[in-house]
């Protein structure tokens, strides 16, 4: 059984989308709509993970066999985890058992994440199956959504979700494979029944989906097959290939995001944007405000702000730069490890943290040196802007090369 969550050349995703649009668009009753959306998401999980065929054993009255099949079913396990997540969120909101639910949730998430992301677990018996199921449902994205929900519920900013909303928030079928990581506040803020889908809105959504498919399956694939070679290239062509690899990754990932945003708009399900022209970013801070925005915003809310604020409150505003440096280091080390628990991604995270610290310190130094008027002229200067954009894009492209090293070389 194919466990890839998003092979767009297979019909599963598109059939599900079509059914979702036909079912959800006409539904105006909020409760019915919510449950229908949950049913669709669970149905897609069934397609993805496989539904155990219990009919045979039940016909033969082999109940033990049926129970064993059910127990071994990834679908049932995922459903059980969703139900547990729902209970934990309710417990956190109602302050049942103090911090125990939060602690247990943290432990469970950390354990499952390690199984999911540690490369060596693929060769461990029994863990390989768990790893495969976690990959199929895009666990690393669902985990971040759950963390956001736990934090906001614990802070009392939002109520815990009911059962269908838990399913819809954690595992929406169109955001399974690679996000976006919708914030819990945004999820709760969306209207229970979206505005009616007009012809213009439907066209925009379809255009978005078509653009995503075109970017991935035409532009990116053509560029890759014609320009990227497996052979070693002299330096200047190597530099070109480094930039091309980055550009292809942007096309690929932003294409996927286009498809999910378009699909969300058709269904009336709020789906956050993930990219805002990262190729015009003039420094790394600007870059992370434009690339994989749902992830950077998650990191900003859940790691960067708490770490920096905790440090600055202890040490004072004058040390904000140093505190920011520490916050960047912690945030981007975790960001790197979130991609994969290996040295390459940790290095990638550190390189970005270092780049961000340099940007921020350089900017602070410039402000002190130039003063307001000259600083504004500096920022508005076209030549300086172009140079800044080129340097930023080159730095991002080079850091990406680190994660393409073979795993054995990096250890």
């Amino acid at each position: 059984m194919d466990r890839s969550p998003l092979d767009l050349y297979k019909p599963d995703f598109w059939y599900t989308l079509a059914i979702a649009v036909l079912v959800l668009v006409p539904l105006k009753a909020p409760v019915v709509r919510k449950w229908a959306w949950a049913a669709i998401n669970l149905a897609f999980l069934g397609v993805l993970l496989g539904v155990p065929d219990l009919w045979g054993p039940l016909q033969r009255q082999a109940y033990l066999e049926a129970a064993r099949m059910l127990g071994a079913s990834d679908l049932l396990r995922v459903c059980a985890c969703l139900f547990v997540a729902y209970i934990v969120l309710q417990a956190v909101q109602r302050r049942w058992l103090g911090v125990i639910p939060l602690a247990l949730a943290g432990l469970a998430l950390a354990t499952l994440f390690t199984i999911h992301k540690l490369p060596s677990t693929a060769s461990v018996y029994r863990l390989a199956d768990v790893k495969s199921a976690l990959g199929a449902i895009g666990f690393s994205y669902a985990a971040l959504r759950l963390v956001d929900a736990l934090r906001l519920t614990h802070e009392g900013r939002h109520a815990a979700p009911d059962l269908p909303s838990t399913i819809n928030y954690l595992l929406p079928f169109h955001m399974l494979a690679a996000g976006p990581i919708q914030g819990y506040a945004d999820f709760m803020a969306q209207p229970a029944v979206p505005p009616p889908l007009g012809a213009s809105d439907a066209l925009r959504a379809v255009e978005r989906i078509a653009l995503g498919l075109f970017k991935k399956y035409v532009i990116a694939d053509l560029l890759e097959s014609s320009l990227l070679t497996p052979f070693p290239t002299p330096f200047v062509f190597g530099a070109f290939e480094v930039m091309l690899f980055y550009f292809l990754l942007y096309l690929d990932f932003s294409a996927y995001s286009d498809i999910t945003v378009g699909a969300g708009r058709l269904m009336g399900v709020a789906t956050p944007e993930n990219f805002n022209r990262p190729y015009v970013a003039r420094n790394l801070v600007d870059f992370w405000d434009r690339w994989h925005m749902s992830l950077s915003q998650f990191i900003y809310r859940n790691i960067f702000i708490p770490v920096q604020m905790a440090l600055v409150r202890r040490t004072g505003p004058k040390s904000a730069l140093w505190c920011g440096a520490v916050a960047f280091l912690v945030s981007f080390l975790l960001c790197g490890l979130w991609h994969s628990l290996d040295v390459r991604w940790a290095m990638w995270g550190m390189m970005h943290a270092l780049g961000l610290v340099v940007v921020v310190w350089y900017r602070a130094w410039l402000k002190r040196r130039l003063g307001r008027e000259a600083m504004n002229r500096y920022r508005a200067h076209l030549g300086i802007r172009l140079l800044a954009v080129v340097l930023t894009q080159a730095y991002v492209a080079v850091t990406l090369q680190v994660v393409t090293w073979p795993l054995e070389l990096s250890t």
Binding site: D289, R301, I305, P306, R313, R363, G371, R372
Partner: protein, 87 residues
Amino acid sequence: MGMMNQTSETFARLQKIFQDVFLDDGLTISAETNSNDFEGWDSLTHVTLMVHVERVFDIQFTSSEIAAWKNVGELEQLIEARVRLKG
């Protein structure tokens, strides 16, 4: 968002904070002022602003509150709510 008294003490102190953070004594803000209005107001400047606000008003925000406000008007409401909570 509601009507906002732009001459309120909270607003005046906020204006001073913005002037300090952006190193511009002539800088003026309004209720609608947001991150699109200033070059260099990015995620890090945002946190720096909030640190100054916490110190000046002697309050403490949650991470969600720090990330959530969209313009100065919302920030002013947030500050006044926190100050009222403090008693």
